[in-house]
Amino acid sequence: MTAVVHLEGVRKTYRSGSIEFEALRGVDMSIAEGEYVAVVGPSGSGKSTLMNILGCLDVPTDGSYHLGGEDVSTMTETELAHVRNRRIGFVFQQFNLLPSLPAWRNVELPLVYAGVARAERRDRAQAALARVGLGDRVANRPGELSGGQQQRVAVARALVTEPDIILADEPTGNLDSASTSAVLGLLDELHESGRTIVLITHEHEVAARASRNLTIRDGLITADEPVVIAS
């Protein structure tokens, strides 16, 4: 199995004035294609920093990060934007849908930045919405959808570019339990169909849905274990 994500000695230091804070202190990790990995850790553990680096929203201070074989740790902001567009599908806790646009136009956004022609964008956005079970809500604006439906639109948006990894940052943090299980079910399905998924969470029952759990504490990976399905 090839490693989609490969981090070696990744450090991230934040500086504010004279105070230095090391959020990541040498993280090594590898995620293979088709894996469903949950990164678990309490708040302040460096979880969000790791998520930002994995998502190419930030670059490490030291160490290397290969995504899909490309070294992204030294890229410029513009190059990173292209990598995010091609290789990563984001699902955020806050959904982050544009309220003025109907569902399909939210979903097609990454394709707009990828330079895909309009007709193709529409087809692919509709297909992605159908894939998450919202084929009949294509024209609805986010305000007309429930929280769970909005997060499914966000998942469709993450899927539409066929990215190397889907990066879900606390995707169920704002959802009730029914919507939570619907969204997690959707992630399970995507995993079964071969998608690589990285889930960041602090909830153990959510992490238990993944096939492998990485525990992060004080800027270091402290545990890396397969999930044992309780009988």
């Binding site: 929203l57 930030d58 934007a81 995010r84 544009l98």
Partner: protein, 409 residues
Amino acid sequence: MTWTETLRTAWDAVRSHRLRSALTMLGIVIGIASVVLTVGLGQGAQDEVKKQISALGSNLLIVSPGSSTSSSGVRGGFGSASTLTLQDADAIADDETVPDVAAVAPVTSSNTELDTSSTNWTTSLVGATTDWPDVRKRTVAQGRFFTAEEVQNAAKVVVLGPDTASELFSGPTSPVGQTVTVGGTQLTVIGVLSSSGSSSSGSTEDDTAVTPIGTAKALTGSTSSSVSTIYVEASSDDTLSAAYQEINALLLNLHDVTADEADFSISSQDSLVDTANATNKTLTVLLGGIAAISLLVGGIGVMNIMLVSVTERIREIGLRKALGATPRVIRRQFLVEASLLGLAGGVIGILIAYAGARLLPDLIDQPVSLSAVATAAALGTALALGIGFGVYPASRAARLTPIDALRSE
């Protein structure tokens, strides 16, 4: 990302904040409308002046006796102060020495009482030749003007100005063919002039009585060949100053005087036009300047709102960046948005200016002439304002890092 996509994104943003967009545009709308209207008003006033002056004859040179510019150069006390003569007029009419002159009309003028059987009216009696209607740009509304033969014979005929005609002959019958008496001499009315169309001096231009020059002399008992004014029409606008030079040289020579002791003066309508235009220009620049300041304020308004918009949409910017928008794409989106606001404001402003140009003349009796050039310039300015004041907010949006942008609440 293509330009059409950028435009669509910007248009969506403008449309999804209708009230804010409208308020942002308001400054530009008012600025552009007032600039276009002010320039239009100034242009309209200039056109009006030009029209009035050319109604008097724009290639007209007025040769007056004495060094005074006043046409009533005959000052009491000096009985024979009239230094211009019919011979002067004939000399000016000579194609050889004065080639740039098209027509010459010497006139005498005096105030005289005209009597009919029922009433009387005092008006200015003008003695003229057949070139007078051409040179003074006058036409005959009824009847005819007198002929060269009648000038030659000093025939007892008169052509009345429209106001004079209506004062003397109020009935339904035409004045043409009737008679008026001047100091016991009966004159036959052979025509009535049409109105001069010049409102500024209309009352005097339209209240007049024109007779052959010999007739006028006979009526006033004058035996000299002096005339009160010689109207000269240059062959075109461009030859006006050449004609001026030629006439000046000729008369100095004929009267045997140097330029310093010239006993005549030549004036043209040009100086009148220039003065009027200078006044209009000053006003236009003044008002245009005020309007331009309001345009500037409008532009700053655009920048203000765009900055607010960047702050307000910080999450949207973060999201777009996360989804693959490069800094350049973000900058372009906000620039296009600002330009759209500017351009839309400009278009609406111009529409209002055109509506104003239709309404204003009825309200304030002032012509407005909007030029395509001024309109295009206004549009360009509006667009430039949008772009110019959009640059800073756009580059701020582009510089935001996606994490900070996404994190902000």
